[in-house]
C-alpha cells in the first residue's frame, strides 16, 4: 500500500473514471436496455459506462499500490478558475449586454488568468482587440450581434 496515494496520478485517474463511468451507469439505469438483437437506447451507454468503471478500478488500485507517477505540481489554480469564468461571463453578457461588453469582459478576464497580468497593457490590448473583432466579425463578416444592447 502506497501511503502517498493522494499524490498519485493513477489514483486520481481512477477516481475520475469511476465518477464519470459510474455517473453514466446511474443515469442510464432508466434507459431501456433491450437485447443484443434489438438494442435499446440504454445498451451502448451501459456497456461503455461499465468499461470506464473497470478502467477506473484498475487505475485506482494501481495508484494505491505503487503510485509510480506523481502529479505534476506546477499548475495554476488561478488559471483554472479565472479562464473558464471569463468564458461564462462572455456567454452571459453577449445576450444581455451586447458584443462589446462581452468581448471586453472576456479579454480582460482571461488575461487576468495569467500571473503576468499588467493593467495598462491589458486595458489597451482589450480595446484594440475588441475594435479589431468588431471590424472583422460584425462589419466585414456580418455577424448579426448588437454591439451594445439597446443602444447600437
Amino acid at each position: 500500500m502506497n501511503r502517498n496515494f493522494l499524490e498519485s496520478k493513477d489514483f486520481w485517474s481512477g477516481l475520475m473514471l469511476i465518477a464519470i463511468g459510474g455517473g453514466a451507469l446511474f443515469i442510464a439505469r432508466n434507459y431501456q436496455f433491450g437485447s443484443s438483437l434489438r438494442m435499446g437506447p440504454g445498451y451502448f451507454p451501459t456497456v461503455l459506462g461499465g468499461i470506464l468503471v473497470m478502467f477506473g478500478v484498475y487505475f485506482a488500485i494501481a495508484g494505491l499500490r505503487s503510485g509510480a507517477e506523481p502529479l505534476k505540481s506546477t499548475w495554476s489554480l488561478r488559471a483554472l478558475i479565472i479562464l473558464p469564468l471569463s468564458l461564462v461571463l462572455f456567454g452571459l453578457l453577449i445576450d444581455r449586454a451586447g458584443f462589446v461588453p462581452a468581448m471586453l469582459a472576456l479579454i480582460v478576464g482571461s488575461a487576468a488568468a495569467s500571473a503576468q497580468f499588467k493593467v495598462v497593457e491589458v486595458a489597451l490590448f482589450s480595446v484594440l482587440l475588441t475594435a479589431f473583432c468588431v471590424v472583422v466579425f460584425i462589419w466585414m463578416l456580418g455577424l448579426p450581434y448588437e454591439l451594445i444592447t439597446g443602444i447600437w
Partner: protein, 498 residues
C-alpha cells in the same frame, strides 16, 4: 489515363481563384500557428471550423488541410531557430537543426527542411491519388459488420499506437464514445444524458468539445508552465544549401518519406513517431554517427521529410474509408459532416471535385509553403517575440466568437468552459486527448453500425468473424492488442516516449 485526367480535373478545381485564396490563407495561418508554441493545428482548426460554414465544402477542406500541413513547416522553423518545437512533430528537428543554426548554418537547415517537406508532400499527394480510388472501391462493398469492425480496428490501433499510456488511451476512446451518445437516440427517439436541457437534444457540439479541450484546456495547462523564450539573434547568412549538403540529404529525404508514408496510414501514430524513426535510421546508417546531435544535416532532412509524408498520408484512410487516423483528421471529418457530407468511400464518386480538388490543392499548398517560408523567415522570428500573455486572450476571443456564431447559444459557451476544465484535468492526469476526439466522432456511427449488424445477423455476434473482410479487421485488432501487451514491446515504447 484515369489518374492523369483526375489530377488535371483536381488542379482545375484547386486553381480557381477562390480555392487558391483559401489555400493561401490556410497555409499562412498554418505556418503562423506552427511557428508559435502553445497553439497547435488542432486548436486552430477547431476555432476556425465555424468559419467554414459560410464557404463551399471544397474551399473549407482546402483551407483546413492547409492549416494542418502549414503547421508542420512552421513548427520546424521555430525548432531550428529557437530550439523550441512549435509542434510536436518538430521535436526531433530541434536536435540537429538548432545545432546547425548555432554554427551559422540556419539558412541551409531551413532550406533543407523545406525541400525535404516539399518532396515528401509531393510523394504523399501522389500516393493519395494512386491508392485512394481502389481503396474506396473496396470500401464501397462494405456492409454494417465490416464498418463496425473497421472502426473498432481504427480506434484500437489509434489508442495503442498513440504516445503515452495505452490503458489511458483506450479509456479515453471509451470516454469519447460515451460523450458521442448525448442527445436524441436516432433509432428510438429517446433522450440520453440530455438532462432536460433543450440545447443537448442535438448532442454536444463537435466544435464545443474540440475548442474546449484543445484551445481552452490547453491554455489553462500552458499557464501553469513557466513561459520563457530565447530568440536567436544570429543573422541568416545564406539560405542556399551547399552541393555537399544536398548530396548528404537526398538519401535521408527519400528514406524519411518512405517511413513517413508507412506510419502515416497507421491510425494513431503521431508525426513524432515517424520523425523519430527516421532520425534513428539515419543515425544507424551514417558512417560517422558521432556527427548526430552536433549539426548533422541528415538529422534535419530525414525527420522533416518523414513528418510531412506522415501528415499527407493521414488523409488516405480519412478520405477513402471515412476513418480518421488522428485528432486532426477527426476534425476534418467533423468539418465534412458540418457541411452535410457523409464521410466515406462514396465521397469520391459523389463529390469528385472535393477529393481531387483537395489533393491538387495540397500539392499547390506545399509549393506555396516553400516559396512563402524561406523569404518570410525574418517575419516569423519577429512573431516569436509576441508574448504569450497577449496571445492567449486573443485565442480565447476568437474561440468564443467562433462557438457563439454557430448557434448563437450562450449555453454552448458555458459548455466549452466546462470542456476546458475537463481537458485540463485529463491532460494533467496524463490522458491523451486525440483518442477521445476519435471516439467522439465515431461513437454515433459505431452504435448505428453495431445495431444494423445485429439486426442483420439476428443478434448473433459471430457475424463479425464469419464474414471474411470483417474477420480480417477483427484479427488485426486482436493481433495489435496482443503484440502491445507483450512486455518487451511495452518497455520499448516507454523508451521512445522518453
Amino acid at each position: 489515363m484515369d489518374l492523369f485526367n483526375n489530377l488535371i480535373f483536381g488542379f482545375s478545381v484547386a486553381l480557381s481563384l477562390q480555392n487558391l485564396f483559401y489555400c493561401f490563407v490556410g497555409v499562412l495561418v498554418g505556418t503562423l500557428i506552427g511557428v508559435l508554441p502553445g497553439i497547435g493545428p488542432l486548436g486552430t482548426i477547431a476555432i476556425l471550423l465555424p468559419i467554414t460554414y459560410s464557404v463551399s465544402p471544397v474551399a473549407a477542406m482546402i483551407m483546413l488541410a492547409g492549416i494542418y500541413y502549414g503547421a508542420q513547416y512552421g513548427g520546424s522553423t521555430s525548432a531550428i531557430l529557437v530550439n523550441l518545437p512549435g509542434e510536436t512533430s518538430a521535436v526531433v528537428t530541434c536536435i540537429d537543426g538548432y545545432q546547425m543554426a548555432q554554427q551559422g548554418r540556419a539558412g541551409p537547415a531551413l532550406a533543407i527542411a523545406a525541400i525535404g517537406s516539399f518532396f515528401a508532400g509531393t510523394v504523399g499527394t501522389l500516393l493519395i491519388a494512386l491508392f485512394g480510388p481502389p481503396l474506396a472501391d473496396i470500401a464501397l462493398k462494405f456492409g454494417a459488420p465490416e464498418y463496425f469492425a473497421l472502426m473498432l480496428m481504427g480506434l484500437v490501433a489509434a489508442a495503442v499506437l498513440a504516445e503515452g499510456d495505452m490503458a489511458k488511451s483506450i479509456a479515453m476512446v471509451v470516454m469519447g464514445l460515451l460523450l458521442g451518445i448525448v442527445g436524441t437516440d436516432v433509432n428510438t427517439g429517446a433522450q440520453r444524458f440530455s438532462f432536460g436541457i433543450f440545447e443537448l437534444t442535438d448532442g454536444i457540439g463537435f466544435i464545443v468539445v474540440a475548442v474546449g479541450v484543445f484551445a481552452v484546456g490547453e491554455i489553462i495547462n500552458n499557464l501553469g508552465d513557466k513561459q520563457e523564450r530565447r530568440v536567436l539573434s544570429t543573422k541568416l547568412s545564406s539560405l542556399f544549401p551547399s552541393r555537399q549538403d544536398l548530396r548528404q540529404s537526398w538519401g535521408p529525404i527519400l528514406r524519411g518519406t518512405g517511413l513517413g508514408c508507412f506510419f502515416g496510414v497507421l491510425p494513431g501514430t503521431g508525426p513524432a513517431i515517424a520523425s523519430f524513426s527516421s532520425y534513428m535510421l539515419e543515425k544507424k546508417l551514417a558512417k560517422d554517427p558521432d556527427r548526430f546531435g552536433k549539426g548533422a544535416i541528415e538529422g534535419v532532412a530525414g525527420p522533416e521529410a518523414a513528418n510531412n509524408a506522415d501528415a499527407q498520408c493521414k488523409f488516405i484512410p480519412m478520405l477513402t474509408l471515412g476513418l480518421p487516423a488522428s485528432g486532426v483528421m477527426a476534425l476534418m471529418l467533423g468539418a465534412l459532416t458540418i457541411q452535410g457530407i457523409q464521410p466515406g468511400p462514396q465521397v469520391m464518386t459523389q463529390r469528385p471535385e472535393l477529393f481531387w480538388g483537395l489533393i491538387a490543392s495540397m500539392w499547390i499548398g506545399n509549393l506555396m509553403l516553400v516559396v512563402l517560408n524561406l523569404p518570410l523567415i525574418g517575419l516569423w522570428v519577429k512573431l516569436l517575440q509576441v508574448p504569450y500573455r497577449l496571445l492567449f486572450p486573443a485565442i480565447m476571443a476568437f474561440s468564443a466568437i467562433g462557438i457563439f456564431s454557430v448557434n448563437n447559444s450562450g449555453f454552448e459557451i458555458h459548455l466549452t468552459a466546462l470542456f476546458g476544465v475537463l481537458g485540463f484535468m485529463w491532460m494533467r492526469l496524463g490522458f491523451p486527448l486525440a483518442p477521445m476526439l476519435l471516439g467522439f466522432v465515431l461513437g454515433p456511427l459505431m452504435e448505428e453500425y453495431l445495431r444494423r449488424a445485429m439486426l442483420m445477423s439476428g443478434g448473433d455476434p459471430l457475424v463479425f468473424v464469419t464474414r471474411p473482410i470483417s474477420a480480417g479487421f477483427i484479427i488485426v485488432t486482436v493481433l495489435i492488442l496482443v503484440v502491445m501487451i507483450v512486455p518487451a514491446v511495452r518497455k520499448r515504447r516507454a523508451v521512445i516516449a522518453d
